[in-house]
Symmetry: C2
């Protein structure tokens, strides 16, 4: 009799976004005339840049001739894409990352979940709270936790609160942890980490042999000159950190699918016999065995993100969403709300008025303003009393949403 | 200190295809003038059909306008693609598979590896021998085996020999197993399973509560009317089988990336408390949490594989490779070799002449005929003394390879 992975049964509830979809669908069915504006899930809305589309069409046409047809590509990604990434995203910022340390994939969600394949089951794991739910849920599924308590916190994970009370700077763990997930610019709070903050994490990791899983999916939204884009801008990070990046949010690839993970050579973990094992080789083996590379056509599109035209078009796209973020911040402040984030990140993190719960505020916003956001408590116990508004939408929708919020919910 | 997954260290050697690449590169460096013909890895070579390219270009253009832009799609795949698959691949063959039971993915290699995420660690697992290495290696990586013996067989797996001696029909396991991997038409032997053979497996699975993981990646190459394309053509299979399929080999998608997995509702596994848990819900949760769907553009291409033009173009493509297979079969027989497969499958399985080992024959073919194939022993201990030749290449290359083999290696 085939046995299932029981750990799945520990998952406290549906993944956050399906639960939102359920409530939104129920509302839409009951109110078919209402025009909903979705500022919930962090999904881009603006067209894929022209330089990227042109490159993809060229690639599709190449696939139509034997002499330029592409079958299986390298599981790690094509050299030309890995080199473009190394040059533009790393060497240009002074980070010594080689193309061979970059693994192209179809998504950061996949990579940040799959990375657990190559780690042991007995690590002490820390996450910020609130947190991108994938980090937590994949650990539950892998059997790294006990059950959830009534706040939705799983036994065995170390939660690092990240709230207004500590200016969204989680304290270093009190006792050593083996693995810590960090996400900057932060999803969901929109907070950024200064060079000093990241240096403190790298120093902590080197002192405690901690592996940092650094999610930089939102780095393109950084506008302050002195905020680091990559963990590798900090000395020593090559010895303690893996970095996840994506084309989803900067280049509009949420539906096109391309991302990458950086695993520096020389970064090691411990085997049970006490020996040090290079993580690069393990990830390479994982990807070679369980993955077959990203579509050639999509990789050509991603490469075009680094052309002169591509870079200019992406800058414009990012600027568009950041102007949305500014409007949201200012509109909500004008409506009397307390807001965080939205400056170097496409998320505005709102304190719910009068201490109402995150899900109550969700329902209120949905029912009164027909606007969908994301309840902070869906990201963790410390997200209770907060609410995430995403800047990913058209200008028209953002302006209308703010108008409705101002009219219906001003405090 | 972050601990690694020690099970990776049990992996006996490099994954088969990288080892082949290593030998081929060494030969090519030493013999830069030699024109190598690769009939090793099962990678398609002919252009992507026009109907598919047209659909993909249309999709790229849609991504260029806000009103037809596509961001995150459903993790399970778009309904229109799932419905096309259900109608054309299943309902048209009398299989009651609903669109909601189909999960679109970026590859069968991924799915057949990832499926272990939702299964327990204490199942008894059977594989045919020889076998597609991914089934074995992913079980090793998940900790379901001990170490490898000198033949490369891992302790704890049940191997079902599949050789000339049993007409490539593996016997049912002597004692009950919880999970069995089956691949028909078979990679690497090119054998097919009759309705009776598959019925015996389904009956066995129902009697023993065994989960069948059925890989039908090569179904399009079946030419005999009475050979089943799907395990679901057998009554009762919905209660015991998951099926993997791919667009890689029929539609030429090895570099474009699209596949799907069928998980019937009502198929269950046991939790440790003895309760039955639907596997559909577990896989849905796995995919929702660790995967973000296939590129919209690629899914539109896959959908076009089911249009009238697409179907005709794919039929032509499959016919082209099957004519290669016929030429290879007949050419090798004329050269005095004993061959199997190549009739309902794009692989010809050759008995090495004079009992030479698979790797020796590999080196001989490489050095004397400058032709690359795949050593049978790379697929398992029972593959020793066999050799796989793939029909995926241009007509010109296939003919030249056969000429060289006839001239240099005829027995």
């Amino acid at each position: 009799m085939a046995r299932i992975n029981d750990n799945y049964l520990k998952l406290a509830a549906g993944y956050l976004f399906p639960e939102i979809a359920r409530r939104v669908n129920a509302f839409a069915e009951a109110n078919p005339e209402a025009k909903l504006i979705k500022l919930g899930i962090g999904d881009v809305t603006e067209p894929l840049p022209e330089a990227i589309r042109t490159a993809m069409i060229r690639a599709v046409n190449e696939m139509g001739k034997s002499e330029s047809f592409h079958g299986y590509g390298p599981e790690q990604g094509y050299a030309w894409l890995r080199e473009a990434i190394a040059d533009h995203d790393y060497k240009a910022r002074g980070c010594e990352i080689d193309a061979s340390e970059i693994f192209v994939s179809d998504g950061s969600k996949c990579d940040s979940g799959n990375i657990l394949d190559i780690l042991g089951h007995d690590n002490t794991i820390a996450v910020c709270d609130p947190v991108y739910p994938v980090y937590v849920d994949t650990n539950v599924m892998a059997g790294h936790t006990g059950g959830a308590n009534e706040d939705g916190r799983y036994e065995g994970l170390v939660y690092l609160p990240m709230t207004d009370a500590n200016s969204f700077e989680p304290a270093l763990p009190e006792s050593p942890v083996d693995v810590v997930y960090l996400c900057y610019p932060n999803n969901p709070t929109g907070a950024t980490a200064s060079r000093e903050t990241l240096k403190a994490w790298v120093d902590y990791a080197l002192a405690n042999n901690t592996l940092i899983l650094f999610d930089a999916a939102y780095h393109a939204f950084i506008t302050d000159e002195d905020v680091p884009h990559s963990i590798y801008e900090i000395e020593g990070a090559r010895k303690c950190a893996i970095e996840f990046r994506s084309f989803s949010k900067n280049a509009g690839f949420t539906g096109t699918r391309c991302a990458f993970t950086v695993v520096p050579k020389g970064l090691t973990g411990k085997a049970s016999d006490g020996s040090d094992v290079e993580i690069h080789g393990l990830w390479n083996r994982r990807q070679s065995t369980k993955f077959n590379g990203v579509s050639y056509i999509v990789q050509r599109g991603a490469e075009a993100a680094y052309s002169e035209e591509g870079k200019a078009q992406i800058e414009e796209l990012v600027g568009f969403y950041m102007e949305n973020a500014r409007l949201i911040r200012e509109g909500l402040i004008a409506a009397g709300m307390t807001v965080f984030g939205g400056i170097n990140a496409p998320y505005v993190w709102v304190k719910t008025p009068d201490g109402v719960s995150s899900w109550d505020f969700f329902d209120q916003l949905l029912n009164e303003a027909h606007v969908v956001g994301t309840p902070g408590s869906g990201f963790g116990a410390s997200g209770e009393g907060y609410f995430r508004i995403s800047a990913f939408n058209s200008r028209e929708n953002v302006e209308e949403a703010l108008q409705r919020i101002g009219a219906k919910l001003a405090v």
